[in-house]
């Protein structure tokens, strides 16, 4: 039997032309469909974003999961060495709660860092010798030593960092930003997640899909995880035997049948569906192209260090982050796991620093060289810091530290951030913030501000209430902005 008898009178190009489904129109259709849904709970008078001229167009969050020790990385405290193994004074602790893991410890013995620090960059940031590459880019980054959070355990603290609430259920930062600003590339998700684990040691704490979840926002705003093993995006690859050409033929058939259905039934959702199939088809090329580093010159690969060749490494993910940034992905969320150094810090810290130091610095430099740093905001840090006292016994060489939310350090760089400065200060124990404290909600407000968003205006009505990333708090940290 010949196929000719079934051929339609028109070609695919005719079909698209006839039905008004060029690429631009597809984008429009997508908006018509899905955005009308987004209005379900949003008010009719949804504010326009950005509210003011943005400094950054996109964000890369290099999240260090587990709570890196600020006292071994960025917050140099010689006093801890002088008062080695003395008890943390009650005047410092001030009755603040500590975790159940050390609550039954007889003593809270002061624990110095075994690592040396160097002052780097114009602002004289103290950076641990564990992070030589970070020392080298000190002129490009802003170290914030006065971070503090409300939570003392991983799950609530990381949920707080990423969603503005310790309890599950709120949208993640990336979702809010996608919701507020929309996408810049029709072939890739606007919010992408990349995960790596420490080379040595283990994975540590679990990550939760809710950290890049949409919460009560429509689920199209959830982050899409790009995986190192298997399909980079779930179900991206066609099965064997389904070549690209064949997929095209099949999709043409689906499009045509959906179009007929639309003409009969009139539901605009059908048009959206057609455009989503087209985007899926495009993603099947754009995502593998993105993940393939074959076209990267050797010097670029070298910048990120030897791990860049290993799929799923932090180095690889940093390079992918740059590639995503180039392609207009709005929010790029990296996680690196195993910073939870309750014990054996001396064994785990050097290795995990080696995992992240060079690639983090390389990302900043690479973006800078490509002129992208100016409108890309980078955030490096974890959900909290660690205690100035030892978990277990204090020991100059071998030690561990418990969770500490009252003070910790992060660094930021790029779009909107003043480079080469140090912001905020802790007491001599690194226990309490004494100057320019930056609460998690302040950080979130500041991130939004860099993107041109007034954090009090990015709201979504859910269950009768206008919710926002910063809840009812948050002050933009103007001092670190350009």
């Amino acid at each position: 039997m010949s196929c000719h008898q079934y051929e339609s009178a028109f070609t695919r190009r005719d079909f698209l032309a006839k039905t008004g489904l060029g690429i631009g129109a597809a984008a429009l259709a997508q908006m018509l469909g899905t955005e009308a849904k987004a209005s379900d709970a949003a008010t009719a008078a949804a504010p326009l974003f950005p509210n003011f001229a943005p400094k950054a167009k996109r964000v890369i969050c290099l999240f260090q999961s587990g709570g890196p020790s600020h006292l071994d990385l960025f917050d140099n405290k010689p006093l801890l060495s002088k008062r080695f193994n003395e008890d943390l004074p009650d005047s410092v602790r001030q009755g603040q709660r500590i975790t159940g893991m050390v609550a039954s410890q007889a003593r809270l013995a002061l624990q110095p860092s075994k690592y040396s620090f160097k002052q780097s960059g114009p602002g004289g940031a103290w950076i641990s010798d564990l992070l030589p590459h970070t020392q080298a880019i000190a002129g490009d980054i802003c170290v914030v030593n006065s971070m503090f959070t409300d939570a003392i355990n991983h799950d609530p603290a990381i949920t707080f960092f990423q969603t503005g609430s310790q309890q599950p259920g709120r949208p993640s930062m990336g979702s809010w930003i996608d919701y507020g600003l929309g996408r810049m590339n029709e072939n890739l998700p606007a919010f992408v997640v990349l995960i790596s684990v420490a080379t040595k040691g283990g994975a540590g704490q679990g990550l939760l899909a809710r950290l890049w979840g949409n919460g009560f926002l429509p689920s199209r705003y959830q982050g899409v995880q790009f995986r190192a093993a298997g399909d980079p995006v779930l179900y991206l690859s066609d099965p064997e035997g389904m070549t690209r050409d064949r997929r095209r033929v099949m999709l043409d058939g689906i499009d045509e049948l959906n179009r007929m259905q639309f003409e009969r039934v009139g539901d605009p959702e059908i048009e959206t569906r057609i455009s989503q199939y087209e985007m899926a088809y495009r993603m099947q090329s754009s995502v593998p192209e993105l993940m393939d580093l074959a076209g990267e010159p050797q010097h670029a690969l070298d910048l990120y260090g030897p791990d860049v060749t290993k799929p799923g490494s932090f180095a690889r993910n940093c390079m992918l982050a740059r590639r995503l940034a180039e392609r207009g992905t709005r929010f790029i969320q990296l996680y690196h796991r195993d910073w939870d150094h309750h014990g054996e810090l001396q064994n785990r810290m050097p290795s995990i620093c080696q995992d992240v130091d060079q690639p983090s610095a390389a990302l900043v430099q690479d973006l800078k060289q490509r002129g992208l740093l100016d409108d890309t905001l980078i955030i490096w840090g974890g959900e909290f810091g660690r205690t100035p006292y030892a978990q277990g016994n204090a020991n100059r060489e071998k030690y561990g530290r418990d969770h500490h939310g009252k003070a910790f350090s992060i660094w930021m760089a790029g779009g909107g951030i003043r480079p080469g400065i140090v912001h905020g200060k802790t007491d001599d124990f690194g226990f309490n913030v004494v100057e320019n404290g930056v609460h998690i909600h302040d950080l979130q407000a500041t991130i939004l501000s860099c993107l041109g968003i007034d954090h009090t205006k990015l709201t979504y009505k859910f269950q009768g209430r206008q919710f926002r990333l910063t809840d009812v708090h948050g002050e933009v940290v103007r001092a670190i902005l350009t």
Binding site: P47, F49, M101, Y235, G253, G464, R465
Partner: protein, 1072 residues
């Protein structure tokens, strides 16, 4: 680029505004009628004013309150907010219109804005007298009169629902849509009531029935679907979201839990059409019902479905408070449509409920003997075994079998008198028993005669000064002033081992007395070694075995049932650990016979490290002491057999009883031992019966141990005092509160109802409770129509949306409640209404005017829920294994999905091992629900993660959905099986073949133009695969089911592609 973006966003926002404005006009357009406070004014005040001028005194600005008429009318500093009849004198109006940025209301920085239309409404309302109304949803629904309709519309009415809908359409000047074709209705209703599409056979039967019987055919089809066991499965899907059902605990460790028996309960409840007031009562308080049945207690799993945190180091109380709060939130949202959780930290900003109201509700749920940190390794206490119906029957049969043995044995006992002739055989039996004791494996033996070193590694020191007559020689005795003894040395290995001892408690004993303990009582719960150790305790006459690595996260606790250890009588106790660290491995024997046990905790992963024991006391600073005697302590470092345990008992029991009887001191128990011993020694028939009884008993106990467990509610003997928690902080106790509900606002406390969860259930389900009936019918309505009559399914408060059809909502609520909370009857009425039966075709004009179909001028059309999309593909391809209920299953999931995500420890639920065989093809509601990484197909199609109560899912349309439908193995395998059906059942003609699959998927035959597309694609693919047969074979190689080798691969592959196209169609994955 940014410029283009901004422009795009601007046009998009304008469009969005337009659409929403249209929608609002459609749903809640002010009519020229008199302004009505509830409908027209309250939403404006609530959204714009009440945040600062509402009932929350802490937030109130300028002391002005607008939610209460008297306050709003009272003269104020420099004016009066509302002067009835005089809008121009009312500050409310002047401040709205002010151009002074310090004067204008709402303040510019509040992001709130009153539109000119809204301002005009307010003005009219004040002009008309500024009458207030209690918020509509807080007034009990009255049965409304049925509206009159035009003759044309009257003819369209099939039941009262239609009158309300048509009346609204008349005022809007709209006509309803014509009735959908019978097959379209059948597909719609089949998916709605069972989650499965109709088969072509069902469609044919229905079409002929419609021709033959008309309306009766519709009723028969509805009844058939309502009677299907899949009705319960369909309704369960939505309830599992609301009840936040999951197979893992959530949070960072997200380890597994076993709650599927509760899911079975839900399916059963809907299938048996349990009246919905019972549905509420049993889930809230089944355990408190008089003579609660197993099913009723099982139902309370609802209150335990919340997430539980096992992260080391958390503050226990902080999370315990979270769980109680979650119960309040879930109950309030799912049944009252109230956002009570707003009051956790402060009085509600919009609704007249206070923080005190919140903590009064809280106190109902605050009395569970539970911990904040728990569930790391399985279920968190309180738990109970929950046999399935089959298992219950099996248990009953086993119990009957044992009773039959017992009757026979009792008869033999009755016929047997003690005689002196029995003395010698008894002595011989005792000697034999002594010889059977595996003394070589005896790692510890304390005869308890006096303080003496025992073996090399053991010593008993600090022996109490008291001793008493023992079972064999003397015994150690304590009067409760100190421990009996301290045993030091190596620990008893609680793994494949047994520990035996005699005890005789004194009359005066604490209800919970330590017998053996090396448990660490230092520190606080959640401390790293809190509770580490092992204990055997005597609790109210039962033996209570506890092994903890860390309490309660890693804890095991097993309690005997029916040990009957009473003061003044010797009893022999053996505790055996059969190996491993599960509670089912702990066996307790009394007088040589195993007794049943109850598992309290089952979360051990290793063993504690503590060494040495206190006897008769524990390490707590204020330890209670055991009072009584203990004798003949033996530990064995291997597991004793049933016969050996009996022998260890008899070796001491028989000589002791013999002495007693000969001296005339034997009690009933000792006589019993002797009689059984004599029978054993002299009557072979007894031996046979006793042996068989022993085997049957062992099997019965094994069966009991294998029962699925479920977390349930129970009340602590002494309730915890609840407090208002300042700013919601777990440790900031404010005013003490007693259990209660917002009674003044909503409904009085029913006379005689207890102030506990059961009373709360009665309060909720009284006929004039204003919210519950409305909230429930509204959610069922939304399930069929896509949107609720009140669109905000979770919020019936003043921030909720005004109902599109208020009288219809009230009519439905009254019908439902007054008709006995009959769920199936409600669904029957809804699906048979002309409203539901309309065609879903929509004109561009109507789509623009009413995009969400709030006015119901057409039939519902929306994408199917995630579960049903997959279930439908399985069903029509013939892959579906349609067994109802049972444990969760593990269908295909991408390999390494958990890589980089799950915690680095092998807790239960952290590894996905795909099911084999039938379980790959079960309905999706049985898929293992891992909360932190739910199945990606479910998530792609908008299923929530179930970390908390969700009563409506978003409905998105994304490229990830397209990828899943095109490439996920279940869908690929389903298309292959459909390809096979096409070739084997579709006849020889390609057109008929594609039509067959098309009908399976959409419930209708394709139009000619559609057939042409399908055939063209089929033909192209057939050509392609014929030229490249290897690729055809590769394409078919997906899924565990075998490929039909009798079919030509190229042909089958081409058919599968076309079937796959059909599975991808918008029509297939939509309800039309």
């Amino acid at each position: 680029m940014l410029g283009a973006m901004t422009r795009k966003l601007a046009s998009h926002a304008a469009l969005l505004f337009l659409l929403t404005a249209l929608a609002l006009r459609a749903a809640a357009a002010p009519s020229p009628k008199r302004v009505e406070f509830n409908r027209d004014i309250r939403p404006i005040l609530s959204e714009n004013c009440l945040y600062c001028h509402g009932q929350d005194p802490k937030n109130r600005k300028a002391g002005l309150r607008l939610d209460v008429r008297e306050d709003a009318l009272a003269p104020h500093d420099d004016g009066t907010a509302i002067v009835p009849g005089k809008p121009e004198s009312s500050d409310l109006i002047t401040r709205l219109a002010s151009t002074d940025k310090d004067e204008v209301m709402p303040p510019p920085k509040s992001n709130r804005r009153v539109t000119p239309e809204q301002a005009a409404l307010l003005r009219r309302w004040i002009a008309e007298g500024a009458e207030y109304q209690k918020h509509w949803a807080f007034i009990p629904p009255a049965r409304p009169a049925l509206p009159e309709l035009s003759a044309e519309n009257s003819a369209r009415v099939r039941n009262p629902i239609d009158r309300f809908v048509l009346a609204r359409l008349e005022t809007e000047g709209l006509a309803p849509s014509p009735e959908a074709a019978p097959n379209a209705w059948l597909r719609r209703v089949s998916l709605d009531l069972t989650g499965l599409p109709p088969t072509p056979r069902e469609i044919d039967d229905f079409m002929s029935d419609v021709t033959a019987r008309g309306e009766a055919a519709y009723e028969a089809a509805s009844d058939r679907l309502l009677a299907s066991p899949h009705f319960g499965e369909r309704l369960a899907i939505d309830w599992l979201d609301a009840a936040r059902y999951g197979d893992t605990h959530g949070f960072n460790n997200d380890s597994g839990r076993t709650m599927w028996r509760w899911r079975d309960w839900v399916i059963d409840a809907f299938n048996s059409n349990k009246p919905y007031d019972r549905f509420i009562t049993e889930q809230l308080a089944g355990d408190l019902l008089p003579q609660a049945t197993l099913d009723q207690r099982l139902a309370t799993g609802f209150c335990r479905n919340h997430v539980i945190n096992s992260e080391g180091g958390i503050i226990d109380e902080e999370y315990r408070v979270e769980y109680v709060s979650d119960r309040v939130r879930t109950m309030s949202m799912a049944w009252m449509g109230l956002t009570m959780e707003c009051c956790r930290c402060h009085d509600h900003k919009y609704d007249p409920v206070t923080q005190r109201d919140y903590y009064r509700l809280f106190s109902f749920f605050n009395n569970v003997p539970e911990f904040g940190e728990d569930g790391r390794n399985g279920n968190a206490a309180p738990i109970m075994p929950a046999p399935t119906r089959e298992q219950s029957a099996e248990l009953r049969r086993a119990e009957q079998g044992i009773a039959a043995f017992d009757a026979k044995l009792e008869k033999m006992r009755a016929a047997r008198d003690w005689s002196d002739a029995d003395v010698e055989p008894i002595k011989k039996l005792a000697a034999e028993a002594a010889a059977k004791t595996p003394e070589k494996k005896q790692s510890l033996y304390l005869p308890c005669e006096n303080a003496q070193p025992v073996r090399d590694a053991w010593s008993a020191v600090d022996v109490a000064p008291l001793s008493a007559a023992g079972v064999a020689g003397r015994a150690w005795h304590s009067d409760g002033t100190s421990a009996l003894a301290r045993i030091e040395g190596k620990k008893i290995k609680f793994d494949k081992s047994s520990l035996a001892f005699w005890l005789r408690p004194d009359a005066e004993n604490p209800h919970d007395a330590p017998l053996f303990s090396n448990q660490n009582y230092g520190g606080v719960p959640a401390g790293s070694s809190y509770g580490n150790g092992q204990e055997i305790r005597l609790v109210d006459g039962e033996i209570d075995v506890r092994i903890n690595q860390r309490f309660p996260a890693y804890a095991l606790r097993v309690v005997s049932k029916g040990a009957e250890i009473i003061p003044g009588a010797w009893r022999h106790v053996t505790v055996s650990w059969t190996g491993g660290n599960r509670a089912e491995g702990v066996h307790i024997f009394i007088d040589g016979c195993e007794v049943a046990t109850r598992i309290v905790n089952d979360g051990l992963t290793g063993f504690p490290s503590a060494v040495g024991y206190l006897l008769g006391a524990d390490g707590a600073a204020d330890s209670v002491k055991y009072r009584g005697s203990i004798d003949e302590i033996r530990a064995f470092d291997r597991l004793l057999t049933r016969a050996e345990i009996h022998a260890v008992f008899e070796r001491d029991a028989l000589p002791y009883a013999l002495t007693q009887i000969l001296s005339g001191d034997a009690g009933v128990r000792e006589r019993g031992w002797l009689r059984d011993g004599a029978l054993e020694a002299t009557d072979p028939a007894w031996r046979v019966e006793a042996e068989q009884r022993g085997e049957a008993w062992e099997k019965y106990l094994a069966l009991r141990r294998s029962l699925p467990e479920v977390m349930v509610m129970s009340e602590m003997a002494k309730p915890r005092q609840a407090y208002v928690l300042t700013r919601g902080n777990y440790d900031a106790h404010g005013e003490a509160v007693s259990p209660g509900a917002p009674e003044e606002l909503l409904a009085p406390w029913p006379a005689g109802a207890p102030r506990n969860r059961l009373g709360l259930a009665r309060w909720l389900t009284q006929p004039n409770q204003p919210l519950v009936g409305r909230v429930v019918v509204n959610r069922f309505w939304a399930q069929l129509f896509g949107t609720g009559i009140v669109k905000t399914l979770a919020d019936f408060g003043s921030q909720g949306e005004w109902p599109s059809h208020p009288e219809l909502l009230d009519w439905l609520a009254r019908e439902f409640v007054d008709g006995g909370w009959n769920v199936k009857a409600l669904f029957r009425t809804m699906v048979l209404s002309a409203t539901y039966r309309q065609d879903s075709k929509v004109s561009a004009a109507l789509a623009a005017r009413d995009p969400e179909n709030r006015l119901l001028a057409r039939g519902p059309r929306f994408r199917l829920p995630a579960e049903i999309i997959r279930d439908q593909a399985l069903a029509i391809s013939g892959l579906l294994k349609n067994r109802v209920g049972g444990p969760s299953v593990y269908p295909y999931q991408p390999e390494k999905l958990y890589d980089g995500l799950v915690v680095a420890a092998s807790y239960p639920g952290t590894h996905w091992e795909p099911s084999k065989g039938d379980d790959l093809y079960r309905r999706s509601l049985y898929t293992f629900w891992k909360r932190t990484v739910p199945h990606p197909v479910m998530i792609a199609f908008d299923a929530p993660d179930r970390e908390f109560c969700t009563v409506s899912r978003s409905s998105t349309n994304t490229p990830l959905q397209a990828l899943a439908l095109m490439n996920e193995p279940t869908f690929l395998e389903a298309s292959r099986k459909l390809g096979e059906r096409m070739l084997k059942e579709g006849g020889a003609d390609d057109a008929a073949r594609v039509a067959m699959v098309f009908e399976l998927a959409t419930g209708r035959l394709p139009f000619e133009e559609e057939t042409r597309v399908l055939l063209r694609t089929l033909c192209r693919f057939r050509d392609q695969f014929n030229c490249d047969p290897d690729s055809a074979r590769a394409f078919l190689n997906v899924g565990a089911s075998p490929v039909d080798a009798s079919l030509a691969p190229a042909d089958l592959a081409a058919c599968s592609v076309v079937a796959g196209m059909i599975l991808n169609l918008d029509e297939t994955i939509s309800k039309n």
